[in-house]
Symmetry: C2
Subunit: 248 residues, 2 copies
DNA sequence: TCAAAAGTGTTAAACATACACCCATGC
DNA sequence: GCATGGGTGTATGTTTAACACTTTTGA
């Protein structure tokens, strides 16, 4: 939900982004709250410029919200039901915010633009949550990371989008070696395992997990990490070829 | 490539379909040839009506070309590079067909519509080739089934689309039990195997293939098929739940 | 010396692949 | 009978999951 004049954009086509991060043993999604009366949460979204590819557009939208340019992103599905705009949502928003709309100088043309039927391309992105400083949009009241199990009520079909994005992430995680995009430069095997457990929402056997990861031959073992805890110090690992993860 | 007035459609958004069929031990794709000078082949495509979901639109487009309504179809990717319209192709087409365009009553508005930058949603469809009577469009010179290895030169990024569609088909074939959509109601194990070999372009071990298929517990064994050949008569099989394959 | 967590090895089950054999059919 | 292709069973190797053991560290 981006109120923008129609001028330079492709009409009725939008991009919605599911931005995944990882923190406190939880998989999180970055969700802005719209600055309108009525508690509307919506996935970060935007439109496609006439001379811009869809991947570029998604990257631009993601950069706006995360400040990061080099992040993994990938389209996962198009959402184009005839009635996905969910008249309910739009009606509620407009009814409760008529005054505010006018006050912000949203003219009839802009209103017409934003309330038309939209087809939306879903992208998901993976970021190192520590590198992100979430950026409010001019239309946001706030923007926050929510654990995937505790998302606020999202508008329209945005919950569906998150579900599909998560399914795709799970499917591609090993195949495309994506996990490393969610972690800092170095990490312990336990941290990697906890990430997997957060993503798949199920426990993994510690020893078998380690074996599987090492067998991929993409982990470089560094020095040990002294935690100060009363146990053996774990090794730190780094992914051997971090640059490959960014190719989308 | 569909020359249509812009009026009822979403602008700059199209659907391109990779329609797979199976015949003579070959995986085939249904490809129309455009009725313009210069030998242009393009995947069946169309636009999305304002009150129509994208799946419905794809189904309508497929029905136009195949005459079939109940066929398996699924989106597989969006193609939206900034320069995918391939100026080359459009320039060539326009240069060679100026007179013809005018003669067909294509006015400036229609021309402007068709030459703008488009984002296209790729769908792939699976059909029983024997049930299809390929339908020419008003803009087609002809429409034919081509073996996937012997496609004519397609316009723009349509070869890319076929490649992506095939990749997706291979990925989902077992998972979603799709093979049966390409076969007639009943078939022998050998025919099923040959279909797999055509799709994956590699041989399978006969006995292991049979075991794998039977272990899926979706095949119903019918009476034997008397071929008249000098060997044991093979069983005929039918998929137990053909209706599930059509859910997209 | 002990608890806690890390690291490694060993075994069993499941699955995939390769090989061997028997069955039905028309000539 | 026998060549041909269909159907099934058995052995082998590979991957996956389950279990057991050893090592390091601070209290």
């Amino acid at each position: 939900m981006h109120a923008q004049p129609a001028i330079n954009y492709i009409h009725q086509l939008s991009i919605d982004c599911v931005i995944f991060g990882y923190q406190d043993k939880q998989l999180k999604v970055l969700v802005p709250k719209l600055d309108f009366r009525g508690d509307f949460w919506a996935l970060p979204s935007g439109y496609i410029l006439q001379d811009e590819g869809i991947d570029e557009a998604a990257r631009r939208i993601l950069e706006e919200r995360t400040g990061l340019r080099a992040i993994y992103l990938e389209q996962f599905r198009v959402f184009g039901n005839a009635h996905r705009s969910n008249r309910d949502f739009m009606d509620r928003l407009l009814r409760q915010n008529e005054a505010r709309m006018i006050e912000r100088g949203l003219d009839r043309q802009a209103l017409e633009w934003v309330t038309r039927r939209f087809v939306s391309i879903g992208y998901y992105a993976l970021v190192d949550i520590n590198k992100v400083i979430p950026q409010k949009n001019h239309i946001d009241e706030s923007i926050e990371w929510y654990p995937i199990g505790q998302l606020p009520t999202l508008i329209m079909d945005h919950h569906d989008m998150v579900t599909h994005a998560l399914d795709t992430l799970r499917l591609h995680l090993d195949e495309h070696l994506l996990a490393f995009n969610l972690l800092p430069e170095t990490f312990t095997m336990k941290e990697l395992q906890e990430l997997y457990e957060a993503i798949f929402d199920k426990p993994f056997a510690r020893n078998n997990f380690q074996k599987k990861m090492l067998d991929m031959n993409v982990l470089e073992r560094l020095e040990k990490k002294f935690t100060g805890a009363a146990n053996k110090a774990p090794y730190l690992y780094r992914w051997q070829r971090p640059e490959r993860a960014l190719i989308s």
